[in-house]
């Protein structure tokens, strides 16, 4: 009972106070939003220790039980501990422990970030190009009328965003300038796309307000595991 009542009470109290504070610029209400945001950051920072502990526990168990492909867990744990120790002790810092920032040029931490973390992140990001191609291939197959329109529109946008679009239609006289591909691409993006996007945004805004009210009032308790 208390396990649900206390979180519900805290949610309702904080929610109502912050909604009211939105309409009251007078101190102390004016800084409540920022204050609560800082409280959240503090809690999230402390919870990070929880996350790190969970990471070590999960992978430690896999290593100790020699579960399938436990070698990956060794890499994860070693990588995590190495960066943690280097960061906390400023190991390899040019100016020593007190001399310079942990991210100073030439520090081991900076090397780890620059030559391990960034290339790995860039590699993952780079995969996106191939996934965009494969997803587009499936999405743009002209199986029906909608898919054909989608293909056509995508083709115009793709051409309009490159020099090819301008090159192919530059011969069209100014009086028929609205037929030039860059112009069409621009209009599709700024008129049709904007209109559709705004319709979705209005739905999202109302959905956020409605969901927030449900959570604050306690109508929706699904996040506590109950209907």
């Amino acid at each position: 009972m208390t396990r649900r009542t206390i979180p519900l009470f805290i949610t309702a109290f904080v929610g109502f106070v912050l909604v009211i504070a939105y309409f009251i610029p007078h101190p102390p209400f004016d800084s409540l939003r920022e204050d609560f945001s800082i409280f959240f950051d503090i809690i999230a920072s402390v919870a990070f220790i929880l996350g790190a502990g969970n990471l070590i526990k999960m992978h430690g168990n896999r290593i100790s039980r020699r579960e399938e492909k436990w070698g990956y867990s060794v890499v994860t744990v070693v990588g995590f501990l190495a960066v943690l120790v280097v960061g906390l002790t400023k190991l390899g810092n040019p100016g020593g422990f007190r001399g310079s920032s942990v991210t100073a040029e030439g520090s081991w931490f900076q090397y780890a970030y620059e030559y391990v973390f960034r290339p790995c992140s860039a590699t993952m990001f780079g995969l996106l190009a191939f996934y965009v191609a494969s997803a587009s291939f499936r999405a743009f197959r002209a199986k029906n009328l909608e898919a054909t329109i989608l293909l056509l529109v995508a083709f115009i946008i793709l051409l309009g965003r490159t020099f090819v679009g301008a090159m192919l239609t530059s011969w069209i006289p100014d009086s028929l300038g609205f037929l030039r591909i860059p112009y069409l691409a621009e209009k599709i993006m700024t008129v049709l796309n904007f209109a559709g996007n705004r319709a979705i945004m209005i739905g999202i805004a109302l959905g956020i307000v409605s969901t927030s009210l449900k959570v604050i009032v306690g109508i929706d308790r699904s996040y506590l595991g109950s209907d």
């Binding site: 209005i202 739905g203 959905g207």
Partner: protein, 413 residues
């Protein structure tokens, strides 16, 4: 207006030391000199007013003025305005800021509450600098009500009213029509498929923290999915990118297993933390997908560039995929790569839809009426402003502007 108000800054000292008649003569002399000197250049800003900025926490004074006739905007003879401030009408004045040509307003945000300040606005031009009369005192005070946000308050009250009305009417026995959402209808089927195949169900709650409403909405859906999973005695895996989300997801899933009458089947180790870093998290989730090949993947929350990487990997392992997000830029990727996608409002309505509770269904209807109100306002606004443009009607234009401002969160002060 006092004698000091009419005196240009820095010239008040000698006047104080003169008898009154001499001061009047001196004033006339200085004024004549000023007029002669500036007649060919530019005139000072007129009607300078310094007043407390409304609907704020104080610590702000708005200085407004009428533009001199020479101000034709950028590129004209007036180069801008310098705003001078003093604690006394007699000075000394110090510069506190500048405004561009064409600007008739300046907000001084570096003042103390309940303290009188006096202002002069100096026209800057090629012909020299011409100060205005002294204006003031302007006194900053904090206000209790932000009247600029009245429209937000009204919208909030309307939505709350609609929600309460529909909740009560559904509770009284009225059957609401809720259109079928295919993605949510497929939840049981997707969980059943995973159970039959003996493979796990993957739930990805996005990469944002608990302060993002999308994460909260995602976790409310997780509660329903977890209950179905518990009833089917299947296996649910929830990798998270935030420690707080992990903790909340564990509570949500545990309570769902308890509600389903299978608390013994709950295993908290299947809800775990990977990394706060976007692509490290994606690498961890993708690795899991490729190794364990979950039969069903749910993506419910806030997603960014990783959306397509996750969904395409899920597609490559032939998983049934259901996605829901309020990130408009990621929706096309999910639509292209997933079997079902909850678009924006559907994502927020999902929890109510899945629960089937009158109270929750009422909130969906309330949300729909709010949307209808928005649509009617948009159509009416477009028609009214079009009619105003053709008929040159100021009244219609004002009505159209009112409708536009009503839905804006940035009303002019």
């Amino acid at each position: 207006m006092t004698l000091h108000d009419a005196v240009p800054p820095g010239r008040s000292g000698p006047l104080h030391r003169l008898p009154t008649s001499a001061a009047v003569l001196a004033l006339a002399y200085w004024t004549a000199l000023g007029v002669l000197a500036t007649a060919s250049a530019q005139s000072p800003p007129q009607s300078v007013i310094a007043r407390d900025t409304p609907s704020d926490r104080g610590e702000n004074i708005t200085v407004a003025w009428q533009l001199p006739p020479e101000d034709t905007g950028a590129g004209g003879p007036v180069l801008g305005y310098r705003i001078l401030r003093s604690l006394s009408p007699a000075g000394p004045f110090e510069a506190v800021g500048q405004a561009s040509p064409g600007a008739a307003r300046y907000n001084d945000s570096n003042v103390e509450n309940h303290r009188p300040y006096y202002y002069q606005v100096v026209t800057l031009g090629a012909g020299g600098e011409v100060p205005s009369m002294t204006s003031g005192p302007g006194i900053a005070r904090p206000q209790w009500i932000n009247t600029n946000q009245w429209n937000v308050f009204v919208i909030l009250l309307l939505l709350l009213g609609f929600n309460i009305y529909f909740i009560e009417s559904i509770k009284a026995g009225r059957k609401p029509f809720i259109r079928r959402i295919a993605g949510l209808e497929a939840v049981a089927e997707a969980v059943g498929r995973a159970t039959e195949m003996g493979r796990p169900i993957l739930f990805v709650p996005g990469i944002q923290d608990m302060n993002d409403m999308q994460t909260v909405a995602g976790l409310t859906i997780l509660g329903h999915i977890a209950r179905t999973v518990a009833e089917y005695d299947s296996r649910l895996v929830v990798p998270t990118s935030r420690a707080l989300v992990m903790t909340t997801a564990r509570e949500t899933v545990r309570e769902a297993y308890l509600a389903a009458g299978r608390p013994d089947s709950y295993n908290e180790n299947t809800i775990y933390y990977i990394s706060d870093e976007q692509f490290a998290y994606v690498a961890g989730v993708n690795g899991y997908m490729v190794r364990e090949r979950p039969a069903t993947c749910f993506y419910m929350g806030a997603f960014f560039a990783e959306s397509l990487i996750l969904a395409e990997t899920g597609n490559s392992i032939d998983a049934i995929q259901v996605a829901g997000t309020a990130q408009p830029a990621q929706l096309p990727f999910f639509v292209a790569a997933c079997d079902y996608t909850l678009i924006g409002e559907e994502f927020f309505a999902a929890s109510a839809y899945l629960s089937g509770e009158p109270k929750q269904l009422g909130s969906i209807k309330g949300q729909d009426v709010g949307k209808l109100l928005g649509v009617v306002s948009i159509v009416a606004g477009v028609l009214i402003l079009t009619a105003a443009a053709f008929g040159h009607s100021e009244t219609l234009r004002q009505v159209g502007d009112f409708l536009r401002n009503f839905w804006s969160t940035e009303l002019a002060g």
